[in-house]
């Protein structure tokens, strides 16, 4: 299924865990709590948990789709089903979606930096740094992108220990009474919780680069469950930490939680947290951008991928430096959220059904051949 990928460029199966987990945890972890309490209030951890448990189903659909594709990724699947021209068009649409997500991640992170840490520094400097780093990472190829995903999971996992410090300040009575929510609230909160889990649709593009699909898919499911568990724990701790009314007023609840940590040699731990979060955001940006470039590359094989990378990064730099008005952040954020929901819950099941039908036809053909 992976006819045209050099074995030297492929990565070991267990790295799928890091790829999926790193692509999912991004900037939304820092601010999602305020949004999800809109519907279900203090029970909003239940939609987070349930939504996360739905993700393996979508992952299964994705794997099924890719099994039937001619070279193992969704770009060839498009070309198989929809023909050359519409397939290429769909690939470009996918590439645009991926670039937008990557852009949102960087944009939001620069926002955080400007609010919390540096208040006098212009955005173009941060955009410049991001551009340089992302160029360096992606121009090294998929193996380097995987390397940064690996380190982007391993190094920030030390931050999880800080959650233990927070347990001192929790008050379990804020969570009770439990299970008060109704279905309408559930869906409102679930919709707000959805952006947390975006990230695995990039596997549609990079899955051929992973060796030994059977073993790798096991790691992929494991990553989804781990992400779900992590998010639920963070949500529960947040709800035990803040009262609901205060939570409504906060725009970055996770960071406000971390503010209270005081170490003997560091009085404000949140700086370290925010800067280490850079290591969590960069894999998101890189994996999405790499997928976008690969989609473009397989559609227009004559353009050199580094050139595509360079031009996309110039566009990013411009947007992050000059379009810094609040309305742009809202606009991009909303576009990305809606597109993500559409892709995950509309487009992938649609393709799944097509793949199932296609498989049935194949079986019928085979039976016909055997029968005759």
């Amino acid at each position: 299924m992976n006819a045209n990928i050099n074995a030297k460029n492929m990565v070991s199966p267990y790295l799928l865990f890091f790829l999926v987990h790193a692509a999912q945890t991004g900037v939304s972890v820092l601010s999602f709590q305020t949004h999800i309490i809109k519907g279900a209030g203090h029970d909003a951890w239940i939609p987070v948990l349930v939504f996360g448990l739905l993700m393996p189903i979508i992952f299964f659909m994705m794997l099924y789709i890719l099994k039937g594709a001619s070279s193992g990724d969704i770009l060839s699947f498009h070309k198989d089903i929809f023909g050359k021209y519409i397939g290429s068009l769909l690939n470009i649409v996918l590439a645009i979606y991926f670039s937008l997500v990557s852009l949102t991640a960087i944009h939001t992170y620069i926002d955080i930096l400007q609010i919390w840490v540096f208040d006098g520094i212009a955005s173009w400097e941060f955009s410049l740094l991001f551009t340089i780093i992302i160029f360096y990472i992606i121009s090294g190829g998929f193996r380097i992108v995987t390397a940064i995903a690996f380190w982007g999971v391993v190094i920030p996992s030390f931050l999880l220990l800080s959650l233990v410090y927070l347990l001192n300040f929790t008050e379990p009575s804020y969570l009770f009474p439990m299970f008060e929510l109704v279905w309408k609230d559930f869906f409102t909160s679930a919709k707000e919780a959805a952006p947390l889990y975006f990230g695995m649709e990039t596997a549609l593009v990079f899955l051929p680069f992973v060796k030994n699909k059977k073993k790798a898919s096991k790691w992929g499911y494991f990553a989804l469950l781990y992400t779900t568990l992590l998010y639920t724990i963070i949500t529960v701790i947040t709800f035990m930490f803040f009262t609901q009314e205060k939570l409504e007023k906060l725009s970055w609840p996770t960071l406000m939680m971390i503010k209270i940590i005081r170490l003997p040699f560091l009085e404000r731990f949140e700086f370290i947290f925010i800067f280490t979060w850079l290591l969590v955001v960069i894999p998101v940006a890189c994996i999405y951008l790499w997928s976008a470039i690969r989609s473009i590359k397989l559609t227009f094989p004559q353009i050199k991928p580094t050139f595509v990378l360079g031009s996309l990064l110039v566009v990013f730099f411009y947007i992050n430096s000059f379009l810094i008005d609040i309305k742009f952040s809202f606009l991009i954020g909303n576009v990305v959220n809606y597109s993500g929901l559409v892709v995950l819950f509309g487009y992938i099941p649609f393709l799944f059904i097509i793949a199932v039908i296609k498989n049935q036809f194949k079986k019928k053909d085979k039976n016909k051949e055997k029968g005759v």
């Binding site: 609010i115 919390w116 540096f118 006098g120 520094i121 400097e125 410049l128 340089i132 300040f169 009575s173 804020y174 969570l175 009770f176 009474p177 008060e180 803040f242 009262t243 609901q244 009314e245 205060k246 007023k249 970055w252 960071l255 406000m256 503010k259 209270i260 005081r262 009085e267 404000r268």
Partner: protein, 371 residues
């Protein structure tokens, strides 16, 4: 130029582009004025808020000047009057030779009039910023903040926060910092409480019980004895020393020092009753000689005596709360967590009439050196 030479030129330019860009950055940015070099800023340690006559807010800031010596003996007090909280920094900066930075404020002090008038807008705008840490202290003073801070300045130290904080760990003040304060200030079903400080008759700052802020106004000032009792109920590890007064003679004193306390609340829905089961583990630091603790019956007697006294005192405390319509213990929140039909308005209407039963169970760990 044809395609190949163009490509070659572009390649050469791009290879060194990074270097040129970085060098350009370094030259232009290195001398920029966006730095906050630590000896070029005025760092405010204590901030006080008062109500001025015309409705504006009077802010007092204590800024140490370390450049003269490493000891804290040069403190500058800056005061300014502004209509809105965020104008403090620009107005105060006009007095200092370096920029004023609020990021390291350790204590915020509210003057009494200011607190009684309503603190909500200042809390919303001034205190709720990412700049301030959330483990700072908030205190209300019985005089004006200006006076208090000036008195404090005479003491030549900036350890107000330590003064407040260590009382919380070992003594009778309940745990409090900005995080708890904000939670309770905005939260439904509970009222915020802050330590009160006052100037004693030797012109020193003294921590004096807690003040309860309800609906953003200071409603009640609990003296020190009730504060110890309060922290015994509220905190799990309060080590407050509580004195039970049994009689006139000096010998009839019982003092206990708390060790662990566990409070369980029960809500009886039909009868609208709240029951508090308080399990205390204490050390008995002083008891009358007529009790001999090695005998079981004496031990039972003294435990019963202590429990009875404590229940009475707690009843009085709760009655004070109900009288003043404040709820610092968070009874509303606790009932909310047990009752699905809880509603804020109706509960607080009923609140003064809700009977609260108290059961105290005392476990004596040891009694010090005496037997």
């Amino acid at each position: 130029m044809n395609r190949k030479s163009w490509q070659a030129v572009m390649k050469r330019v791009f290879k060194n582009l990074l270097l040129y860009v970085l060098m350009g950055c370094m030259i232009t940015l290195l001398g920029c004025s966006r730095t906050k070099i630590v000896d070029d800023v005025s760092i405010v340690h204590v901030f006080g808020l008062d109500l001025a006559e015309n409705g504006e807010i009077l802010g007092t800031a204590l800024i140490p000047d370390y450049s003269v010596s490493a000891e804290v003996d040069h403190i500058l007090a800056v005061e300014e009057q502004v209509p809105a909280g965020v104008l403090f920094i620009p107005e105060m900066s006009r007095h200092t030779s370096t920029r004023v930075e609020l990021a390291k404020i350790r204590v915020i002090v509210f003057g009494k009039d200011f607190a009684e008038n309503g603190v909500k807008d200042m809390v919303d705008r001034f205190i709720f910023t990412p700049e301030l840490g959330t483990n700072i202290q908030i205190a209300v003073t019985t005089h004006t903040a200006n006076e208090t801070l000036k008195t404090f300045m005479q003491e030549q130290s900036l350890t107000l926060i330590d003064r407040i904080e260590h009382n919380m760990i070992e003594q009778g003040q309940p745990q409090m910092n900005l995080h708890y304060f904000l939670n309770q200030f905005y939260g439904e079903g509970m009222d915020a409480y802050v330590p009160m400080i006052t100037i004693d008759n030797q012109n020193r700052i003294k921590v004096d019980g807690i003040g309860i802020i309800s609906k953003s106004k200071l409603k009640l000032h609990l003296p020190e004895k009730e504060t110890s009792l309060f922290s015994l109920i509220k905190d799990k590890r309060a080590q407050a020393t509580y004195h039970l007064d049994l009689g006139e003679k000096r010998d009839e004193n019982i003092t206990l020092r708390g060790f662990r306390s566990k409070s369980e609340w029960e809500w009886n829905k039909e009868k609208d009753e709240v029951t508090l089961n308080l399990k205390l583990k204490v050390t008995l630091t002083q008891h009358p000689n007529r009790f001999d603790l090695s005998k079981t019956e004496d031990l039972q007697k003294i435990k019963k005596l202590i429990a009875k006294e404590l229940e009475e005192d707690i009843h009085n405390l709760l009655a004070t709360f109900k009288e003043n319509e404040v709820d610092p213990l968070g009874i509303g929140n606790i009932v909310r967590s047990k009752d699905r039909t809880w509603e804020k308005e109706s509960f607080y209407r009923k609140y003064p009439d809700i009977p609260i039963h108290v059961n105290v169970d005392v476990g004596i760990i040891h009694s010090g050196l005496e037997n």
